[in-house]
């Protein structure tokens, strides 16, 4: 049975699908370590994916597309900050509202601009160039090296390298930088942070904005790199998978990245499993295989949640004490 399984292609696919989750999960880490529950990742990804695809199509420049995605994602984030910080509203409800509203709005806009049933036209050549290692031809004769540098480590777009470079950066930023320490203080005990002279609202806004920028990259990656077009509801639960990866990683960057790679691995496995005849059960229908990431999420949440401890002030609006 296993001749149909290619470990090498699963690994490559894992690396290709991980950035979607990495960007979104780090966006979640920013928001939640500052004390704001971020269920709106899904909606922000979707609207950024749409803006990125539409702008890339219009200008034929993927960098402008990414910038457009960042802009709309930051608009949503400002609204999120207004609701969660100024209005002290319900953060869970905000997330659900944005997810539903963006699912409808992106369809309506896609239909208005392109008339393709909620899809954007193919972006064609207007995508990111694939980066190769220099001197790649030198070892192209040696198959393992060719695979290692040509497919596993090389041959990706700049967003993939950015996503993986973020892992140590996030770790340093959150654990060793002044901003990171303040952000965590605000998320754990905003009253103590406030007494120490940290501006709680400002720090939370800043954390949300950083998250908004990262989340938009996730959407842009979906639209410009992975598929090459915008499709309605193309975020397809990835925002929630990222959130689960974050819970799995105990809200810490390194472990969260590990969780993202795990989910990326299952996604890659899912694609490989389709059409493969297994012993005993035979061929598993595609619709059942599609459940895999979601079932894994529930199992992870059920198994890990009891042990994972989130930021103490998560979801609690800060009211300055007199």
């Amino acid at each position: 049975m296993f001749e149909d399984f290619h470990v090498s292609s699963i690994l490559v696919a894992t690396i290709r699908s991980a950035p979607v989750l990495l960007f979104a999960a780090f966006a979640g880490v920013f928001a939640e370590r500052s004390g704001i529950i971020d269920l709106a990742l899904e909606g922000k990804m979707l609207v950024a994916a749409f803006a990125a695809a539409a702008c890339t199509y219009a200008t034929q420049n993927p960098y402008l597309g990414v910038a457009a995605g960042m802009l709309v994602s930051c608009c949503i984030v400002l609204l999120q900050g207004y609701v969660a910080i100024n209005q002290k509203g319900n953060q869970l409800v905000f997330g659900i509202a944005i997810n539903i509203a963006m699912s409808g709005l992106t369809f309506v806009l896609a239909q208005y601009f392109f008339q393709l049933g909620g899809r954007s036209p193919d972006l064609g050549a207007a995508r990111f160039p694939v980066l190769h290692f220099p001197f790649a031809e030198l070892w192209s004769d040696i198959a393992p090296l060719n695979w290692l540098f040509g497919q596993l480590l090389g041959g990706h777009t700049i967003l993939v390298y950015l996503a993986f470079a973020l892992i140590p950066c996030m770790h340093w930023l959150l654990n060793h930088s002044r901003f990171g320490l303040r952000l965590r203080a605000v998320g754990e005990n905003p009253h103590a942070a406030d007494a120490a002279g940290i501006h709680v609202a400002q720090t939370r806004y800043l954390a949300l904005l950083c998250g908004g920028l990262l989340c938009s990259l996730s959407g842009a990656y979906l639209a410009i790199v992975q598929s090459g077009f915008f499709l309605r509801d193309m975020s397809a639960g990835n925002g929630f998978l990222a959130l689960t990866a974050m819970v799995f990683g105990n809200w810490r960057p390194l472990q969260t990245a590990l969780g993202c790679l795990m989910f990326g691995f299952f996604a890659a496995l899912q694609i490989q499993m389709e059409g493969v005849a297994f012993p005993v059960v035979g061929q598993i229908p595609g619709s059942l295989i599609q459940m895999l990431p979601f079932v894994v999420t529930v199992v992870v949440l059920a198994g890990v949640m009891a042990k994972s401890v989130g930021p103490k002030a998560l979801g609690v609006p800060f009211v300055k004490s007199r």
């Binding site: 269920l39 609701v83 209005q87 002290k88 509203g89 319900n90 953060q91 869970l92 409800v93 905000f94 659900i96 509202a97 944005i98 997810n99 539903i100 509203a101 963006m102 699912s103 409808g104 709005l105 369809f107 309506v108 239909q111 208005y112 909620g118 639960g237 929630f240 959130l243 689960t244 819970v247 229908p285 619709s287 059942l288 599609q290 459940m291 979601f294 079932v295 999420t297 529930v298 949440l301 059920a302 198994g303 949640m305 009891a306």
Partner: protein
């Protein structure tokens, strides 16, 4: 937070102001799409309320939303945010269909329909049980698990319908049509003025459920435990209420109500199970519960509003191609945003205005 406001202000004025804000934003978007919001509104109202048949359809859609709204509301009373009503309704439809396919040739209607109702409630409750159990015993947040269960339900039903329920020789991903004794009686048999509308007995059942919900939540010992657990789990535990059992029972009831929502469209109108028959009714339930502030009358009125939006919206999208039915998904999100997340936005302003008046009187 706004205890200084009188009750009529928090329960009537604020929701209306929030709703109005959502609709104004929606009107702005419709304007940007190149259509006239006033004209859109008049088409919408004319089609949903202007004639008996349209109104019948409005009530038909509202029936489903009353059930899903109740499903979300009862969970909210216990402080649980059940996003999974859609998946629970989908599974409820499966329970109902299995009973129908099994017995519709052998049982009379008076036995078959209650049995199908129980099947729907049971399957919906079972689908809600797992997230409820995981929340109560393992602390897995019910919001994320119910969302995951929606995705799982979609894949699972896809598999079940395509593999087992399509009659041989058919291509359409749907079950066979139920025999006629499984069809819920329509209300136009008694009220011919309604014309040819699918409004059926489920509407009466929905009204009964609204009443029962009000009684159970505010007039029974268990309802008190439910609300206590929702207001403050710590205090409730100290008072001897088992939080775990409240959570699990509430999720079972919530899932059962969502499952019963399938009765209206499946047994009352379509008479067969098809892919994605819920068409997002579970998510509309969230908006209904938030806008209606989980009060029976509020749930009824906001379900009616969504009935108007869906029925009028369907006709509107036929006339205006720039306003597809998905526009109402956007409006639904806006309503959840303004009535749920920003529910107290106007409270300070309102308090100031009322104070001003009060001072003048003194």
């Amino acid at each position: 937070m706004n205890s200084e406001l009188p009750r009529w202000a928090t329960s009537i004025a604020l929701p209306l102001l929030n709703l109005l804000s959502a609709l104004i934003v929606a009107a702005g978007v419709i304007y940007l799409l190149g259509e006239s919001p006033i004209e859109a509104l008049s088409i919408l109202v004319q089609s949903a309320l202007g004639n008996a048949e349209g109104f019948g359809y409005t009530l038909f859609y509202a029936t489903t939303f009353i059930f899903t709204g109740l499903s979300v509301s009862i969970a909210m009373q216990a402080g649980l945010f059940n996003i999974g009503s859609d998946g629970q309704m989908y599974l409820g439809g499966l329970g109902l269909t299995l009973v129908m396919l099994q017995f519709d040739a052998s049982l009379p209607a008076w036995l078959l329909i209650p049995l199908a109702l129980m099947g729907a409630a049971l399957f919906g409750a079972a689908w809600a049980f797992i997230p409820g159990y995981l929340q109560a015993k393992r602390g897995s947040h019910v919001v994320v698990t119910t969302i995951m269960f929606n995705f799982i339900a979609a894949s699972l039903m896809n598999f079940i319908i395509i593999t087992y329920l399509i009659p041989t020789g058919e291509q359409n991903p749907a079950s066979r049509v139920f025999a006629e004794n499984g069809w819920l009686p329509r209300l136009n048999a008694w009220l011919p003025a309604l014309g040819d509308t699918p409004l059926n007995l489920s509407f009466v059942l929905a009204l009964l459920c609204l009443f029962a919900y009000g009684v159970v939540v505010w007039r029974t010992r268990w309802g008190y435990a439910l609300r206590a657990a929702g207001k403050s789990a710590h205090a409730a535990r100290y008072a001897g209420i088992s939080i775990a059992s409240v959570i699990i029972i509430t999720m079972l009831l919530s899932g059962a109500l969502a499952g019963v929502a399938a009765m209206n469209s499946l047994a009352g109108s379509m008479h067969y199970l098809s892919l994605n028959f819920t068409s997002g009714a579970g998510f509309i339930g969230i908006a209904v519960a938030l806008m209606g502030r989980q009060h029976p009358l509020g749930i009824f009125l906001s379900a009616l509003l969504f009935g108007i939006l869906i029925q009028g919206g369907a006709d509107l999208s036929l006339e205006k191609s720039n306003i597809p039915p998905e526009t109402f998904i956007f409006i639904q999100g806006l309503i959840i945003l303004f009535c749920g997340a920003m529910e107290n936005m106007y409270a300070p302003a309102l308090a100031r205005i009322l104070n001003l008046k009060w001072r003048k009187n003194v």
